[in-house]
């Protein structure tokens, strides 16, 4: 059994402000691990605030950029050294859906073009009729009416429709994993639910793995089986969605959850202002990256970056407060991220 896509302790540094005298190195992502297995599909949420490294993780997993440390492996092979045929297969099995449904289309072509290009690129159909059949089937699967969408230009469709077409395009080539980077953040709340429902049904009916990258913990909690929380490029908590939201172990996850305004009025959201910086400067210190914002910080927290520890539940958390449960091994981290739902072992 080999994992479909696996990242083991992957780090990425960017050269910032590279000028004549060289720049600073910015760690966008540090020690990131995740695993997807097509025999045991998972629906994972990757959650974090802006600048936490979500998009870097997405680009690494898609092979758009390569890690500074560690490797991303597709069926046991490093993404850097895929041969032509395997690369083609990787491109087919691992699909992406991006944030902006307004920019991913070429405005000069009808939407049919981007769908047909996918079919032809991978030589999925032997005739025009077969091609049309595949396209219609994919559109129907995402809740679109082919008659309403085909033959239209992107600007004639609503944001929600366009994003569904993007999901249909990903679906068309028979993916095993869909990596969706903020797929609904530019869409109205009333339409978000229906697009996520499509992803959810593709996961449970067709066994397609999903990585849902978002800053919105609420929707992640609704659709994901497991959640991975990033903070300043580091994984701070990973575990089954209900556990991460119901019993968050890391103080950052706790703050994140307390900050989400509940649609049920009167939960004291505006009370309890705590004096703490909203953002602090770049890492000039060692210690826990969350230190200056943490209400529960102890002396130890300033000395060393906490590794991922086991917690009282099934999640793992990078917090010294969990030290007593023992350090989590890399397999345990990846297992927590997989939180196998349907078809799990």
């Amino acid at each position: 059994m080999s994992a479909l896509l696996q990242a083991c302790g992957v780090s990425k540094q960017y050269e910032a402000g590279a000028g004549l005298w060289g720049g600073r190195r910015v760690c966008a992502l540090t020690g990131f691990s995740i695993e997807f297995d097509d025999e045991r599909p998972s629906f994972v949420g990757l959650v974090g605030e802006s600048g936490s490294g979500k998009t870097t993780a997405c680009r690494l997993l898609l092979g758009f950029i390569h890690p500074t440390e560690g490797s991303v492996r597709y069926r046991e092979r490093d993404l850097r050294s895929l041969d032509g045929e395997t690369r083609m297969r990787f491109r087919r099995e691992v699909q992406a859906v991006f944030q902006d449904p307004f920019e991913t289309f070429n405005p000069f072509y009808r939407v049919n073009h981007c769908l047909a290009a996918a079919v032809r690129g991978f030589r999925l159909a032997s005739s025009r009729r077969e091609e049309a059949g595949l396209i219609e089937e994919a559109l129907v699967a995402t809740g679109l009416d082919p008659a309403e969408v085909l033959g239209r230009y992107p600007h004639e469709l609503s944001g929600g429709q366009r994003q569904r077409v993007m999901v249909a395009r990903a679906l068309l080539v028979g993916p095993k994993l869909v990596i969706a980077d903020e797929p609904v953040s530019m869409i109205d709340a009333s339409l978000r639910a229906s697009i996520l429902a499509v992803c959810r049904s593709l996961y449970s009916r067709r066994g397609i793995c999903f990585l849902y990258i978002t800053h919105d913990l609420t929707t992640a909690g609704q659709v994901c089986e497991s959640i991975l929380v990033l903070y300043r490029g580091r994984t701070v908590e990973v575990g089954p969605a209900d556990e991460v939201i119901g019993r968050p172990a890391h103080p950052y996850t706790q703050e994140l959850i307390a900050s989400i305004p509940d649609p049920e009025p009167g939960s004291g959201w505006l009370e309890g202002l705590r004096e703490a910086p909203e953002e602090d400067d770049e890492e000039t210190r060692c210690g826990c990256p969350y230190l200056t914002r943490c209400a529960q910080a102890e002396r130890q927290c300033g000395r060393q970056v906490p590794p991922l520890f086991r917690t009282a539940g099934r999640s793992v958390a990078a917090c010294w407060l969990c030290e007593r449960f023992g350090k989590a091994r890399d397999e345990e981290v990846r297992a927590a991220a997989r939180a196998c739902g349907k078809g799990g072992a």
Binding site: D188, T218, I260, D262, P265, E278
Partner: protein, 322 residues
């Protein structure tokens, strides 16, 4: 009962286009009391921002205010001269814009920008006094000392939003309009900024009109809300009542489409999409998406009617008492 600070009557705004007029706001009527926090929610393109800009008389051609009246403490803003209106802004009615990052001048220190605005809108103080006042404002909104000497790019998103809040409250206006002031911020920062705004509102007794699409944010911050759909206000009432027992089918669907963190819900959106506002037909504009459509809805436009104390709705179902 508090005095009325703002009273808007039958306000309509349209944008002229080559293919006919787009009715962005139609016959909007509502009023705000002193010290209250009123929210205006709706999907994108429903006319929320246009309504706010109309209150400031900042609608640019090809847009224009077609009819209606805007009474701010008894003065009809639509009858003022351009110069009189300019003086009203910031002093009596101010705006916290959406996306603070784009509303500050990048080549001017943020403190100087606020000082300039204060002077332009009627603060007659010496330079030193004015600087002292700006420093005071900055500490009120929770910015660290010395932040007034920074350029916008040296501040984070949350801090820039605080600068915009400082500017908006600088002359202690009676009414502050906030257009999705925290939509570009992370949730943790959003909560802190809203907490600051609430504290300021309570200490100065300002009235706040908050526009946005985040129902959670509205539920936690506002006293009353109005729901907008396709340019019309379709429901108004106390936030708690509107969200717990919505009367308009649109409000009900909107509320149902919002996930809650602590309940796993079956994702359910609102079917269809909002209609075009270009020369809209007679009848209710929500009818194509409405589960309770009747024949009346096709032919006659429902207007906002009071159904109980402080509660109004624009739906034929309700006016017939069903």
């Amino acid at each position: 009962m508090n005095s009325r600070v703002l009273e808007v009557r039958d306000l309509s705004v349209e944008y002229a286009t080559d293919n006919g007029a787009v009715r962005a706001v139609q016959e909007a009527s509502f009023s705000l009391c002193g010290g209250e926090w009123f929210g205006l929610v709706g999907e994108s393109g429903c006319g929320k921002t246009t309504l706010l800009l109309a209150l400031l008389r900042m609608i640019q051609p090809p847009g224009r205010i077609v009819s209606g009246s805007i009474l701010l403490e008894g003065t009809d803003l639509l009858c003022l001269s351009v110069e009189q209106m300019r003086r009203m802004r910031l002093a009596s009615i101010s705006l916290i814009p959406q996306g603070a990052m784009n509303s500050l001048n990048p080549v001017m220190r943020v403190g100087a920008q606020i000082a300039l605005a204060m002077r332009e809108h009627g603060e007659h103080l010496s330079g030193r006094e004015l600087n002292r006042k700006v420093s005071e404002l900055f500490s009120l909104v929770g910015l660290p000392a010395g932040a007034e000497q920074c350029y916008p790019h040296e501040l984070s998103g949350g801090m820039k939003q605080r600068v915009c809040i400082a500017a908006a409250i600088s002359l202690r206006p009676r009414l502050v309009l906030a257009d999705e002031p925290t939509s570009a911020l992370d949730v943790v920062v959003q909560r802190r900024v809203m907490q600051t705004l609430k504290a300021l509102q309570q200490s100065f007794g300002m009235t706040v009109l908050l526009v946005g699409h985040d129902i959670g944010l509205m539920a936690q911050t506002t006293d009353r809300i109005g729901v907008m759909y396709a340019g019309r206000i379709v429901e108004i009432g106390a936030t708690r009542e509107v969200l717990s027992s919505p009367l308009h089918p649109y409000t009900r669907l909107l509320r149902a489409s919002v996930p809650s963190l602590h309940q796993r819900w079956e994702p359910e959106g609102i079917p269809g999409s909002p209609p075009s506002l270009r020369e809209p037909p007679e009848g209710c504009l929500f009818r194509w998406r409405c589960p309770k459509r009747t024949e009346t809805c096709d032919t006659r436009t429902p207007v906002l009617r009071q159904v109980s104390e402080g509660r109004s709705v624009a739906c034929w179902q309700r006016s017939r008492g069903i």
